[in-house]
Amino acid sequence: MATPLTLTPGRRPDGTALLTVAGEVDMSNTDVLAAALDSTAGRLVLDLTAVDYLDSAGLSVLFSHADRIELIANPLLIPVLTVSGLADLTTIHTPEPGTPPAPRL
């Protein structure tokens, strides 16, 4: 059984594609994330505000799309993104104040 993960596609006000992710990303559910990313093309903003755990399997999915994505990430995830080097390849935003914290599953 895979770890629950919610993926909600949408658009940014500027028209950029947006994928909002909620839950924990680990090796049991990276294939779901990978499929969702593969189904989009062009620039994509990935909102990880509601993700409080991301492991190296999840990172590798993000790496394969690094050249076309931007990330919005919870500060807790920043060390992982930095250490892995993903922060050097993509732009990372922190969530705007007032954004509700990620629900814990």
Partner: protein, 1329 residues
């Protein structure tokens, strides 16, 4: 717990009950009615349940014996439980709840421990085997539950066994025959296996086992265990038959208990047997020694004086009655002969006494042994011929001279000849001397009656006489041959006897050539020719003559001194009491011989020397009646000799006749002026010489009558006698002085410091004692001292000296006259007593075997003032374990000679000391094997018979002490093991660590305990308590309180109410009053702790910030002091990463120190280790708090660190990652870490788990992965273990996998990955900021 619900009393239980109590009845029991489930004990519990259901009142039973059939057989079990009613909503009783804890192991463990302790508690160390067995039997008999009956059989020499003790079985029962055959059929119990040291489990079926006693049980035992009573290094003493409790399985602890019990019995037997053997041996040695010493001292002291006073007057009487009638003279002759005989006997005994005491004054000189022996033999010729026997003397010259002491040799030969003559009636006596190898061989053979073969070995025993042997005389003490053997031995020679009954006897003496076998200081330079036979031969010949048919015995009486002339007026011998002794000094051999012949012919006893110096020495040694000296001699001439003699008060009165070739008045005047008594010019007529000699001798005798009496009396004194001049020089001594100290008159005067003073360098103590006494002697008029002195041969003596001032009547000078006695024996007897006492004290004080041995060695070292004492225990192979005073050397570092000596000691008999010039050794038994002991005296001090006796006694004592200490050691181990088995829960909840340590001395377990109880709601009860007192009694009280407290907590998880209830319980148990208890209930999730203290020292909480808090709320008085008073509770929340310490006062209480200081010290100890894993911390605290000599009270200690470590095991599937993460996240919350730290740990753990799933178990999905996380104050450790192999990371092939390890290393401070064939361990660690 379990409950019975509804009208059928349907049975329900929780998991703990299922696991611990239900056994094989699960799952069969579920849903059945309680009376079906517990049918076998329904008689016990049914009435109780009825009571609960009908009255609604709860029941309470403690450690109730129940026979459960949960393992396929009725089993002896003990349970503490309470039944309480369960009510429905309407309040009606509809069922009951049982809260129960099983106590089988505790109850049985306590029972067995009590038996073992009682076995080991034998208060009297010394007892016979019989008493020991009876004692052991009483103890075994007091445990009829574990040992329904026992039989103790001991092996006899023929392999059969006898019943030595039985418990629980009546005498004469067929299962307990009084004896068992060595082996084979017919024996009830097989003896072969235990004889080989093996245990046997016997099924008790068959005829002899019908109607067996049942012990404490309803049914007789069905099995018995036969255990050998093992003996160290030998076949078993016997075996113990222990009937087994049929209601318990024979598991390891039961078997171990029986073996330990047998071990106690075996140790007791070994101890009793070895004690008796050693005691007997030591007593025999001491008795023998006492008897000998007493006998010889009595002889010497009591006989000499009266003999002197008989023989002196007798000689005078003979002289005076020379003209009396024949009858009177014959009777006087009888008196004189028997006086001489008695004197000879006393002298022989004294010789023995001297040999024994090492005081025989030997002067070995090189002589022509053949000539000397031939001459001695010739003395007997007339007696032998008169007896009608042939006398063959075959003494050709030997290739080299032999060292002998003339006096001793005379005694040897004369004794043998006298013996031969006494037992030979036909045939001949033959004396032969020849050389063989490097020995001179002397044989004395006769054709006498011979000796029966069985008597030959005893020929040389003292006082041994062959009964009913035909002899020329029945006189004899049976001591002559024994003396001969001793004397030959002193010469380094051997004597053997060959005899055939009816044919004759041959004695063969072998003496080595050379002098290497003799003490160097007793060897004199070569003297040359054989001298005349001394007068000592006289009594032998006279005695022999008396055995022969009556003849003219008087004619032969003076054989060696030449027969007195028939005309009494011409010879001096007839008027003088004894032949006068004349000393001749002349350098011309012809003149010497002429004078000798002349004077001897006239009846004098004559000795001759070469010059003045020799003459002076001879006079000082044995003052003659007269000196005849030439004037012209080398080295010292006659005039110088006279001057020297006159200058010495002891020799001033010896008359001197000078002979000179110088004629003329002047020469004569010169000679007389020098002090000579007479002067004769050569050539002189024989008659002239004899006349002058006779005149001078008679004159001198008259003059010296009083002086001679004084000398005779002084010499016969049993005490040593001496005279000191004003400067302290010893100028006169008597024979006893020489006997005791070895210094003779020839060395006079002895100037201070006297040569017998102990050496100032090696024995400063002894030297000072003598110096003090000597100063007293010079300064004070009189006094008495007991001081150590050194015999001339180097051995140590103790003498008791008395002295007094006197005035020399001749010179008017003040002199000191003293006497002394040899008190060595008394001194050593006292020393022995105190040495034994000191050794005993050392052995009692020791708390371990090595300590006992080391203490004993140092005692021995002090006693003998030894350089070193060394003990080699041959506990394995040929290389022993060494113990020594000072640092023990390695075996291989010892000189090869010493190693060989120690190894050889092993083959000597036990407790028989052996010594050489550097020290002494002895073999004794050590519990680990034979112990060779070496006392290194270093210098050339002799090790005397006294020393050997003392060493033998001490070694025996030491062996006993070591066995005892060894037993105590074993008992200590046993006691602690059992106490720990009774203590504490078998499984500790996570996060806890506990310790128990008994007091060091006196070694005893006590009443301290700790306990943890897992409560039904997930909380944990924590108890630390301390019963008053020590020993088994306190341990029993402790066991009951512990069980009660457990049960109460299970029923009601409130510390205050638990202690309140425990107050009531404790009030009913004697010895439980004033017990202190800390009782708490901990929520391991939140760290919330409620607690209550009954007079117990406060708990200590070490916080992660380095501060310390004490749990001082909820305090009240100790148990049962105010029963009924409600107790209060305190509460606190243990912060994350804090450590709680609970303890008993033994940890912190020290004499002369406030309790608070100890508590603070304990707090610091915990704080210091707040970063250490909790189990290591427990060890660290116990070590740090140990006082210098070990704990003098017992200590219980309990530690808890919050939160407890997290342990998760999960199957290697990716779906498990989320739940594991969830568990870790909530544990990290409990740890109250900064959120980023917690996130980092979470990521690192996630990566490690993912690796384990993806790689470790790629071939075996579903295998178990284990994660453990443990936190301390400042750091956190995380471990993930799988059972598979990881791939070597290859980031280029699989980019994100390499990233996983990188992430782990980035998130944690340290990461260690350890792959092994059986799996991979990831160990990660981080600091908490």
């Amino acid at each position: 717990m379990w409950m019975a619900w509804g009208p059928r009393l349907t049975f329900f239980c929780n998991a703990a009950y299922r696991r611990d109590t239900l056994g094989r009845k699960y799952p069969w029991a579920l849903g059945r009615s309680a009376n079906e489930v517990w049918a076998e004990i329904w008689d016990d519990i049914g009435p109780r349940i009825d009571t609960v259901l009908t009255t609604g009142k709860a029941t309470w039973d403690e450690a109730l014996l129940l026979f459960l059939e949960r393992s396929g057989y009725p089993e002896e079990t003990y349970h503490t439980f309470s039944y309480s009613p369960l009510r429905d909503d309407a309040g009606a009783v509809v069922g009951m709840l049982c809260v129960v804890s099983e106590e089988t192991e505790r109850v049985i463990g306590q029972r067995r421990m009590a038996t073992l302790r009682d076995l080991g508690s034998d208060p009297s160390v010394v007892r016979t085997e019989q008493e020991m067995l009876a004692f052991a039997g009483r103890q075994l008999g007091r445990n009829p539950r574990d040992l329904p009956f026992t039989l103790t059989y001991l092996f006899r020499d023929d392999g059969s066994a006898r019943l030595a003790n039985a418990t629980g079985v009546p005498a004469g029962h067929p299962a307990a025959p009084a004896t068992l055959p060595a082996d084979g059929p017919g024996g009830v119990w097989p003896t072969a296996a235990p004889a080989r040291g093996e245990s046997v489990l016997m099924e008790l079926d068959g005829v002899p086992f019908a109607g067996l006693p049942t012990g404490d049980w309803p049914e007789p035992p069905t099995q018995a265990l036969m255990v050998p009573l093992l003996q160290q290094g030998g076949a078993p003493h016997g075996f113990l038959v222990a009937a087994l409790n049929r209601y318990r399985p024979l598991e390891d602890t039961y078997r171990g208990f029986v073996e330990l019990a047998a071990g106690h019995v075996a140790a007791g037997i070994a101890s009793a047997r070895s004690y008796q053997a050693q005691q007997r041996r030591a007593e025999e040695l001491a008795e023998l020694d006492r008897a000998k010493t007493a006998f010889f001292s009595n002889i010497s002291h009591e006989f000499r004086t009266p003999l002197t006073l008989i023989m002196g007057p007798l000689e005078e009487l003979r002289g005076r009655l020379a003209g009396a009638d024949e009858e009177v003279r014959e009777e006087l002759e009888v008196v004189r002969r028997n006086g001489l005989r008695l004197n000879k006997l006393v002298n022989t005994l004294l010789d023995f006494s001297r040999i024994e005491a090492g005081r025989m004054q030997a002067h070995y000189e090189l002589v022509d042994l053949a000539a000397v022996t031939a001459e001695l033999a010739s003395v007997f010729r007339s007696a032998v011929e008169r007896a009608g026997l042939g006398f063959e003397v075959d003494c050709p010259a030997l290739p080299e001279p032999v060292h002998i002491d003339r006096d001793m040799w005379e005694k040897v030969v004369l004794n043998l000849l006298s013996n031969a003559l006494k037992f030979t009636f036909d045939g001949s006596i033959r004396v032969r001397v020849h050389a063989e190898d490097a020995h001179a061989v002397v044989t004395v053979a006769d054709t006498g009656i011979g000796v029966p073969a069985e008597e030959v070995p005893r020929l040389f025993e003292r006082f041994h006489r062959i009964e009913n042997a035909r002899a020329r005389s029945n006189e004899g003490s049976g001591i002559g041959l024994a003396l001969v053997k001793e004397l030959v031995g002193l010469h380094g020679g051997t004597i053997t006897a060959d005899s055939t009954e009816g044919e004759g006897t041959v004695f063969t003496i072998r003496l080595p050539f050379g002098s290497a076998h003799l003490p160097a200081d007793a060897v004199a330079p070569a003297v040359g020719t054989a001298d005349a036979v001394s007068t000592s031969a006289d009594p032998y010949v006279q005695e022999a003559m008396r055995w022969l048919p009556a003849d003219d015995t008087a004619a032969t009486a003076g054989e060696t001194t030449a027969a007195p002339s028939p005309d009494a007026s011409t010879g001096p011998a007839s008027v003088l009491p004894a032949p006068a002794h004349v000393l001749i000094a002349d350098d011309n051999a012809d003149m010497r011989e002429y004078l000798t012949r002349l004077l001897r012919g006239a009846g004098y006893r004559v000795s001759a020397v070469n010059d003045g110096r020799e003459a002076l020495r001879a006079v000082r040694t044995d003052a003659p009646d007269m000196v005849v000296s030439d004037v012209m001699m080398p080295r010292m001439d006659g005039l110088e000799l006279v001057a020297a003699l006159r200058a010495d008060p002891r020799t001033a009165s010896v008359p001197v006749l000078l002979l000179s070739a110088r004629a003329g008045q002047e020469a004569s005047i010169e000679g007389l002026e020098s002090g000579a008594d007479d002067y004769l010019v050569k050539p002189f007529a024989a008659a002239e010489l004899l006349a002058r000699v006779r005149a001078n001798v008679e004159l001198a005798r008259l003059r010296n009558h009083h002086a001679r009496w004084r000398t005779a009396l002084v010499d016969s004194l049993q005490e040593a006698f001496f005279v000191c001049d004003e400067e302290g020089a010893v100028v006169e001594i008597n024979a006893a002085f020489t006997d005791i100290l070895g210094y003779g008159v020839e060395g006079l005067p002895y100037q201070p410091v006297h040569p017998w003073w102990p050496d100032a360098a090696t024995d400063p103590d002894g030297h000072r004692q003598v110096a003090d006494a000597f100063e007293g002697l010079l300064r004070e008029g009189q006094g008495r001292y007991t001081v150590p002195v050194t015999h001339r041969d180097g051995h140590r003596l103790w003498i008791s000296v008395n002295f007094n001032y006197a005035q020399d009547p001749d010179t008017g000078r003040r002199v000191t006259v003293g006497t002394f006695r040899d008190v060595t024996a008394e001194h050593y007897a006292i020393q022995r007593e105190s040495a034994l006492a000191a050794l005993s004290l050392r052995l009692t004080e020791a708390t371990s075997l090595p300590e006992a041995l080391a203490g004993a060695l140092s005692e021995l070292k002090d006693l003998w003032r030894a350089r070193r004492v060394l003990a080699a225990v041959f506990d394995h192979g040929d290389e022993p374990t060494l113990t020594a005073t000072g640092t023990p050397p390695a075996w291989q570092q010892l000189p090869a000679e010493r190693r060989r000596f120690l190894a050889d000691l092993r083959h000597r008999p036990l407790l028989t000391p052996t010594s050489d010039h550097t020290g002494a050794g002895v073999l004794l038994e050590h519990p680990d094997g034979p112990l060779a002991l070496w006392i290194d005296l270093g210098d050339q001090r002799p090790f005397t018979g006294e020393d050997e006796l003392l060493l033998s006694l001490l070694a025996g004592h030491l062996a006993q002490g070591l066995v005892r200490t060894h037993q105590i050691d074993q008992q200590r181990e046993t006691a602690i093991t059992l106490q720990r088995a009774i203590l504490g829960p078998s499984r500790l909840p996570d996060g806890f660590a506990v310790r128990y340590e008994p007091a060091t001395r006196p070694l005893e377990v006590g009443g301290d305990w700790y306990d943890t109880v897992e409560l039904p709601d997930g909380r944990i009860g924590i108890v630390v308590g301390d019963c008053v007192g020590r020993g088994l009694e306190a341990a029993a009280v402790m066991g009951q309180l512990r069980s009660a407290c457990r049960a109460l907590l299970l029923q009601d998880a409130s510390p205050a109410r638990t202690l309140t209830a425990l107050d009531h319980f404790a009030a009913t148990i004697s010895g439980a009053r004033c017990t202190t208890v800390f009782c708490g209930v901990l929520d391991p999730g939140t760290g919330h702790l409620t607690y209550s203290s009954a007079g117990h020292p406060p708990g200590i909480l070490a916080l992660p910030d380095g501060t310390t808090r004490l749990l001082e709320d909820g305090r009240s008085v100790p148990l049962a002091v105010r029963p009924g008073r409600t107790r209060q509770e305190g509460e606190c929340t243990i912060p994350a990463r804090a450590t709680l310490l609970l303890y008993t006062d033994g940890l912190v209480e020290r004499r002369r120190r406030p309790l608070r200081a100890g508590i603070d010290q304990a707090g610091e100890a915990v704080q210091e280790g707040r970063g250490v894993a909790v189990d290591d911390l427990a060890t660290q605290v116990m070590d740090r708090m140990t006082p210098a000599g070990g704990y003098d009270d017992d200590v219980a200690l309990l530690l808890y660190r919050h939160p407890a470590p997290l342990e998760v095991s999960f199957p290697a599937e990716s779906s498990q990652l989320a739940p594991v993460r969830q568990a870790l996240r909530s544990w990290l919350d409990q740890c109250q870490l900064p959120s980023q730290t917690a996130q980092n740990v979470l990521v690192a753990a996630g990566e490690a788990c993912a690796n384990a799933i993806e790689h470790g178990h790629r071939h075996a999905p579903g295998d178990t992965v284990r994660l453990r996380a443990e936190v301390s104050a400042d750091d956190l450790r995380l471990t993930v273990v799988d059972t598979g192999h990881w791939k070597t990371p290859r980031p280029e092939a699989n980019a994100h996998r390499g990233r996983g390890v990188t992430l782990m290393r980035a998130m944690m401070r340290q990461v260690t990955i350890t792959p092994t064939p059986s799996g991979t361990t990831v160990d990660m660690y981080t600091r908490i900021a």
